[in-house]
């Protein structure tokens, strides 16, 4: 098991190396630079001065090696958007806020989505199921920024219960978490329902009923445990997505998190930040899949790692 995990981690290093090369060449291939353009056309001399200031006057392969040399010493360079902050420092400042939002969202999404899915599976094809399905479809098809704006209109401007945005205390968390959680609730509810319905139809559940086990015991020991396996596959990747934030949610609710940087780094040609974020994302995804694979071992006795 330990060996398996170590091998996977070693493979990740190789993936990161290749990914960083591709990202580096791609981002430097886009026209424009990290400097302010102003209104006037720049003279050649100005352009040279600016390139030198950002260390962009060397060939791309040299810039890459310089970057890689820094990374080996855990130095990911200085952000161009916040010239007094390192990439690691900037992520360290903003990510906790996004994590806070993301974890609350995960809690709400699973807290609502899983029971909703189980209820609609158990009460299959009743009005409860139809209502849950309707809600899920709404959640699926409506982007979270639409929910965000609707919530601001309703709870801030009309009812005056909550502020329109900011990140100062619990009352500021409610609207963004709800808006952000809607789509995952829908997804979790749908997949939970499907998994549970399938598990309910399994032979061993019929057997359990036949031998007179209580309904609660059937649900917990025979249905849910088996339903968890497909759910883990689907829900695993949801988590890195939610804990890295959304530019829409963070912009609409003025949350000083990491979400916006996925986009602004590209617009501002903040090269060190772009590649820093790509690396972060890759590591998170890889770890999620690794953890998912390891979880299978515990959930499904048929899976064994050699």
């Amino acid at each position: 098991m330990i060996r398996y995990i170590l091998t996977r981690l070693l493979g990740l290093l190789f993936v990161l190396l290749v990914l960083s090369m591709i990202t580096f060449w791609l981002m430097h291939g886009v026209p424009g630079g990290p400097w302010a353009y102003g209104q006037q056309l720049m003279s050649d001399q100005q352009l040279e001065a600016l390139k030198a200031r950002y260390g962009l006057d060397k060939p791309v392969w040299q810039q890459y090696l310089i970057w890689l040399g820094g990374v080996v010493q855990l130095d990911f360079g200085m952000s161009f958007q916040h010239p007094d902050e390192s990439v690691a420092g900037l992520i360290g400042r903003t990510w906790p806020v996004t994590l806070h939002l993301g974890l609350l969202t995960i809690l709400v999404a699973f807290g609502v989505g899983v029971p909703l899915g189980i209820i609609s599976a158990v009460k299959q094809n009743t009005w409860v199921d139809y209502l849950a399905t309707l809600l899920s479809i709404f959640g699926f098809v409506t982007p979270h920024f639409v929910w965000g704006i609707l919530f601001i209109l309703t709870f801030a401007l009309y009812l005056k219960w909550l502020p329109t945005g900011g990140w100062e205390g619990p009352q500021y968390w409610v609207l963004p978490v709800l808006a952000y959680a809607f789509a995952p609730i829908a997804m979790i509810a749908r997949y939970t329902r499907a998994s549970v319905v399938e598990a309910l139809r399994a032979d061993h559940v019929r057997t359990a009923r036949a031998k007179g086990l209580s309904e609660r015991s059937i649900m917990s020991r025979h249905v849910l445990r088996n339903a968890l396996i497909p759910m883990v596959t689907v829900f695993g990747p949801l988590i890195p997505d939610l804990i890295t934030g959304s530019i829409f949610i963070e912009a609409i609710f003025r949350i000083p998190g990491l979400g916006g940087y996925w986009v602004t780094s590209t617009f501002d040609r903040d090269y060190p930040m772009i590649i820093g974020l790509v690396m972060l994302w890759a590591v998170l995804i890889a770890l999620t899949y690794l953890i998912t694979d390891v979880l299978y071992v515990f959930l499904d006795p048929r899976v064994r790692i050699r």
């Binding site: 886009v30 026209p31 424009g32 630079g33 400097w35 302010a36 353009y37 102003g38 209104q39 006037q40 056309l41 720049m42 001399q45 100005q46 040279e48 001065a49 600016l50 200031r53 161009f80 916040h82 010239p83 007094d84 400042r93 903003t94 809690l107 709400v108 699973f110 807290g111 609502v112 029971p115 601001i152 209109l153 801030a156 401007l157 005056k160 219960w161 909550l162 502020p163 329109t164 945005g165 900011g166 990140w167 205390g169 619990p170 009352q171 968390w173 409610v174 978490v177 709800l178 609660r216 917990s220 020991r221 912009a251 609409i252 609710f253 003025r254 000083p256 998190g257 617009f267 040609r269």
Partner: protein
């Protein structure tokens, strides 16, 4: 096992209940207004008007976007708000009619030949750390502006300061620059030729603290260190909460003609799309007034339909022109008839009365109404809407009914909703009136400027056609026309000619050059600018589409001299750079009329 499921179920239920309940609502943002007992005196010892709210409520909040730098000398295009009132102070300040008034520079004079300016500073001016502000700070300021990687260097290069280009390129040491300190309170500026509008640019001579910055080539990060929060202006930075806000407090060391009344100014960082809602919810005291789209067409419609909001609205014409430009050095736009056809095919009235209602007036000139040297009346018919004439001109150019005309892309630069609406309307009119297919493509700033630069430098013609704004920097006839030309360097290649676009006219350049050096005769200068603009418009270097109108909402309890009209009877909500705004307001217990 069973117990753990029950535990899970209970905790899930708890989460559900929590999510449903939400949390307590925030304190009512618009608190009732208690009247202060006795006069309110701020930390400078200034007594506020009788109706002023208590000092702790003298807080003014407005929205802005978080930027990279803090100060004017670091970057003009990427600095946070507060750059003008919370760090430096300027040599002179424009009044409501944009005429320069004494500020840090108490008085000035210019020599007979117009090439030597002398400025006398206020005697008792100190930085907020107590260090005296001297003429050497101004000398250092100009040395700092004269660096190649400064994004506003081009602006100060228009002052014609002796040895400017050589200092920028590093050929000469900064001490050789034509800005010299005579004594602690006097400095001089020597120019290569007379520059009649130099005093207007001195409104943007934002002094830099030499004792703090030290290195004139500093990359701009000096102002991000809290120990360097010094100011010569009416406010000083108290805190910078990254990603959230800037808090400025009144600078108790400030001496000068624009002392603050409010105690604090808070700049809340937020995206333009959410500002209107935050204003309505009482989280901001003012919104809008810039050309970021705080109040898009949808918000304007709501304001106009709501009598309360309408009372809080301030609208005034901005000196900004949105125009279409062409690559006149390459086909098909090298043909004047094609450009004329375009200029007659666009119905500006339809645009400004439709999607851009309340946000624009129709434009037929580069210089907007009320700008020095403008000739709106004289030129308004040159490019008048006339679809029949447009069709005929296009046919004469060899494209009857648009046949054979290449497929076009109209570029925009980080377009806001209003500009996107205008671009779509123009594309529709070109289709309807000339049967041309135009696709719209929005570019980010970097890609746009790179393409524009390449078009001029390489005369390549890949970037034919775009719709962009130009906003004034100082109120002088030379300013907006300089987009299209200026004094030529004899024998320079076309690609090195002044102006940013691929249009060239020698006569135009000569007129601009002559007017730009003419001292003490504003009437003659403006006459020359009118002649120059006629060439520009008749040759269809551009198709002006609209001049922007600025709209701002300001809560009715904000009062002060800011709301007194200018000589044209207009009340404006211009930013500090053009109005000294943050020094001209206070929070009142009554409402403005």
């Amino acid at each position: 096992m069973r117990r753990s499921y029950r535990l899970l179920a209970i905790s899930l239920l708890a989460v559900l209940v929590l999510a449903a309940c939400g949390a307590p609502a925030p304190a009512a943002p618009e608190a009732a207004a208690p009247v202060a007992s006795g006069p309110v005196v701020n930390r400078l010892g200034i007594t506020l008007p009788e109706d002023a709210l208590p000092l702790e409520q003298q807080v003014f909040r407005y929205p802005s976007k978080e930027q990279k730098y803090m100060t004017w000398d670091a970057s003009v295009y990427e600095e946070n708000d507060g750059d003008n009132y919370g760090w430096p102070d300027s040599c002179v300040r424009p009044d409501k009619d944009f005429n320069p008034q004494p500020n840090v520079c108490e008085s000035w004079s210019v020599s007979e030949d117009g090439k030597l300016w002398t400025f006398n500073l206020q005697q008792d001016k100190v930085w907020s750390d107590g260090v005296p502000l001297t003429a050497n700070d101004f000398v250092f300021t100009f040395q700092r502006y004269a660096r190649a990687d400064y994004d506003f260097e081009w602006f100060y290069s228009m002052m014609g300061i002796k040895n400017w280009a050589q200092v920028v390129s590093g050929e000469l040491p900064p001490e050789e620059l034509g800005v010299k300190a005579v004594d602690d309170h006097t400095f001089t500026i020597e120019t290569d030729y007379p520059v009649p509008y130099l005093i207007k640019i001195m409104a943007d001579a934002w002094v830099v603290p030499q004792h703090i910055v030290k290195d004139r080539l500093d990359d701009g990060t000096w102002a991000l260190k809290p120990e360097n929060y010094v100011s010569a202006g009416p406010f000083v930075l108290q805190s910078y909460e990254k990603g959230k806000r800037l808090v400025f407090v009144a600078n108790d060391k400030y001496t000068g003609p624009y002392p603050p009344m409010v105690d604090k100014v808070i700049v809340e960082f937020m995206e333009p799309e959410v500002r209107f809602a935050a204003y309505k919810n009482g989280e901001l005291d003012a919104v809008g007034g810039g050309y970021t789209d705080d109040l898009p067409p949808s918000a304007m419609a709501e304001i106009m339909a709501n009598p309360e909001l309408k009372k809080e609205l301030i609208s005034w014409p901005n000196f900004i022109t949105y125009y279409l430009f062409f690559d006149t050095w390459n086909p098909p736009f090298d043909n004047l008839k094609v450009r004329q056809a375009f200029s007659h095919a666009i119905d500006r009235d339809k645009i400004v009365n439709g999607p851009l209602q309340y946000q624009a007036v129709a434009a037929y000139t580069m210089n907007p109404p009320g700008f020095p040297g403008e000739n709106v009346e004289g030129l308004k018919d040159v490019q008048a809407f006339d679809p029949e004439l447009a069709k005929q001109l296009l046919a004469e150019a060899g494209y009857p009914n648009g046949e054979g005309f290449p497929k076009l892309t109209m570029y925009t630069r980080e377009a806001n909703p209003a500009l996107t609406n205008a671009a779509e309307a123009i594309a529709a009119m070109l289709k309807e009136n000339l049967n041309l297919t135009v696709e719209i493509q929005n570019l980010d700033y970097g890609s746009y400027m790179d393409a524009l630069r390449a078009q001029k430098r390489e005369k390549s013609g890949n970037f034919l056609f775009a719709l962009v704004p130009y906003e004034f920097d100082f109120v002088d006839g030379s300013n907006m026309l300089s987009v299209w030309g200026g004094c030529e360097n004899a024998g320079a290649d076309l690609s090195q000619m002044p102006g940013r676009h691929t249009w060239y006219n020698q006569e135009y350049n000569n007129l601009l050059c002559e007017a730009g050096q003419l001292l003490n005769d504003e009437a003659r200068r403006n006459e020359l600018y009118q002649q120059a603009e006629r060439i520009l418009i008749e040759d269809v270097a551009l198709v002006p589409i609209y001049h922007g109108i600025f709209n701002a909402l300001v809560k009715p309890y904000v009062k002060g001299p800011m709301f007194e009209p200018n000589s044209k009877g207009q009340v404006t909500w211009n930013r500090f750079r053009f109005s000294s705004r943050e020094s001209q307001i206070y929070m009142s217990s009554s409402t403005r009329e």
